[in-house]
Symmetry: C2
Subunit: 420 residues, 2 copies
């Protein structure tokens, strides 16, 4: 890798580590005032932000980027107001830092407690829209973490402008601007180098497509929280109420296509398949959704085309869904645990024991009975803004609110105790 970039990266790591120590000393009102000021500054600098964003838009157009992608990239006065409103919503959230989770006196008189503290330095690697830049900073700052951002190269000018506004506002409040840093290098090796900076980075959160996430997981020596890839299933049980199943499937597949909690695969019990499959197929086909199924499913509806093995493992993020017919609840659970990415799965059933069995044995972050998988989301779960949805088992699983950006430490108050 380019030596200069490497040195720049280490400098960013060091500065972030230093800043994280300062952030630990800020009071809750100081943090909230700074966030409110930043929300104001973003709006005040709308013209500059849009000017910088225009450069990204022009570049994207020149590259022949799709209109949908360009729309995701675009900043408008309204969207900047939305971003500022997001920051204000973070101000309103409970700050978990400093909470004592429990404190007990031991027989020897030691008082032992567990206290919620910041992680330190959080690195976030993302491909998404420029609003993630501000969201991620706000959540990390609220929990007294310094954040290192590595956004997509398409949004580089926008991200630079947004981070500049934040850093200047922090500076004006005499708070270390290194609370947020943006890595500007678009070199691919920069990500690899960042992933090995254990000395300065406490956790890496990749947000984006499965390629990005796999790359980070495979190369990182810094602890990683995997997010987001969702090959979500809905299982229509033998005892399903189809008046619930059809709207739930419709909602989970079609309400929004490009999201990780959309349903990508159906599993249907053979005892109900002859009634359920034609109804489901007709409902989805009306919205031009392609349905790929096994032989039995194809036999039950001419709207269904052939699924190959690979279909069952695919997160389509499009108007396509796969269907598998099974002969038992056990078979359904086994199929789901085999192909799922561990995000969100639902059973549709009126049978109490089937619901309980599914809830117990399906190994995913969110397991639903008779509801759409689309609810897996920080706001819908009642935490407010989220930093991502963890699909791994360590540290945090499911939508990650502010608590996921903290760790704990044991604090022990003694009066001279020694161990016998």
């Amino acid at each position: 890798m380019n030596e200069v970039i490497n040195e720049e990266l280490i400098e960013i790591g060091k500065s972030a580590k230093r800043a994280s120590k300062v952030l630990m000393t800020l009071t809750k009102p100081q943090k909230n005032e700074a966030l409110l000021k930043i929300a104001e500054s973003l709006i005040a600098h709308s013209a500059d932000l849009i000017y910088a964003n225009d450069k990204d838009i022009e570049k994207a157009k020149a590259k022949g980027t799709s209109e949908a992608m360009i729309d995701r990239l675009r900043l408008t006065t309204e969207r900047i107001e939305g971003i500022a409103e997001g920051v204000r919503q973070v101000v309103a959230l409970d700050d978990p830092v400093g909470e004592i989770l429990s404190m007990k006196e031991r027989p020897n008189g030691l008082m032992i407690g567990q206290k919620r503290v910041p992680l330190g330095v959080v690195a976030i690697i993302y491909e998404s829209r420029p609003n993630v830049t501000v969201d991620a900073f706000a959540l990390c700052f609220k929990t007294s973490n310094a954040v290192i951002l590595k956004g997509g190269s398409d949004a580089l000018n926008s991200n630079k402008a947004l981070v500049n506004v934040i850093r200047e506002t922090l500076l004006s409040l005499k708070i270390s601007p290194d609370a947020v840093s943006l890595i500007e290098s678009t070199d691919h090796e920069t990500v690899s180098a960042l992933c090995r900076m254990n000395k300065y980075v406490d956790v890496i959160i990749p947000r984006g497509g499965s390629g990005l996430i796999k790359n980070v997981v495979n190369n990182s020596t810094v602890p990683v929280i995997e997010t987001g890839v969702g090959n979500c299933h809905i299982y229509v049980d033998r005892d399903a109420d189809l008046k619930k199943a059809i709207p739930i499937i419709h909602n989970a597949k079609l309400q929004r296509l490009g999201v990780c909690n959309a349903c990508e695969s159906l599993v249907v019990h053979s005892d109900i398949a002859d009634r359920a499959i034609p109804m489901i197929a007709e409902d989805l086909a009306k919205e031009n959704c392609e349905i790929r199924g096994d032989e039995e499913a194809q036999r039950l509806s001419s709207l269904i085309t052939k699924a190959v093995e690979e279909d069952y493992g695919t997160e389509y993020l499009a108007k396509i869904i796969s269907v598998k017919i099974v002969n038992s609840l056990d078979e359904a659970i086994e199929h789901i645990n085999k192909y799922s990415t561990g995000h969100s799965e639902a059973i549709i059933t009126e049978n109490y024991s089937a619901a309980m069995e599914f809830e117990k044995l399906v190994d995913s972050a969110a397991v639903y009975v008779n509801a759409s998988t689309r609810f897996t989301d920080g706001f819908e779960f009642g935490f407010g803004a989220e930093i991502g949805i963890s699909t791994q088992k360590l540290h945090a699983r499911g939508p990650m609110g502010l608590n996921a950006l903290t760790t704990t430490k044991f604090i022990i108050f003694g009066n001279g105790q020694i161990r016998e």
Copy 2:
């Protein structure tokens, strides 16, 4: 790597994954009865276990292993009874699996709760005495996790015999014996391969020296919980009560040498150094403890030899300690955060504000005021047996009891809800 070993390893991974699904369905009484039966079987097979252990002892002697190491390796009737007693103690612990941490109704009627569930498959790589084999199994089994063990080659025959007794007892109870597997290959590449089996292994816990731990962290794509390396500090503040400081330092350095919560480095405020240093040095020197200090410390006691930079970063695990004189609390905290491994640190002070500042800003798993660092331990903290002491920030920090072997999942009960 050897193809045959690789295939064996994948077979072990698959079997463990399958077993983990079965373990999820066991009731708490079933798990406890199995553990009690295993404790009995271990005692009943004492002769076989000692016979197998003899082979390891002979090999170790032939290799010229030190008497201390051979003693650590040795199984006796009494020690096997101790191991069985350890299993019974795990039976007595609260089983956290299945606990609902919170459940709330959302405005749309969805009931959303968070439930404690097993991690799945836990791999433990260790170098320690054969008792770890049984301890680790018991803790994992109690939390419905399958465990893959990779012990040190010195204890291979002992570990095989112990695991055989456990597997046969499970089989006699019609519980999948793959709840525990031992990797017998002593090939170094086996560890690397195990560290990349993300498909079958949910978490890897390395227990042992810093070389082993570093190797696992650097090579693993499976999430890792780092344990144990402890370069622990005691800071003698300007306002320290030396009647507390001297016994605490004595205890923390000398009560047991080869442990991760032993004190390896002292930091002393310059205002108290001329009184404290001679007293500390005399007390430690009486026990033949070598003291390596900076210039100022050497000036204050002829018992102190020269410390080099490297000393401040060294976990001696021996009768050696380093000393650094500082001019302020801030300097003490900065020094500790720079050289510490994030395990356990203590301040000795009668000053309230200094105690609070130290407790807040020292970035370690356990931060003490006026007590020995030797208390960082599952039993001393009141959790019972521990699977290790985490020095990382994600998932678990400090002594890890049964909770650290669990994750959570969201369970959501609906009646047809779809997202608007």
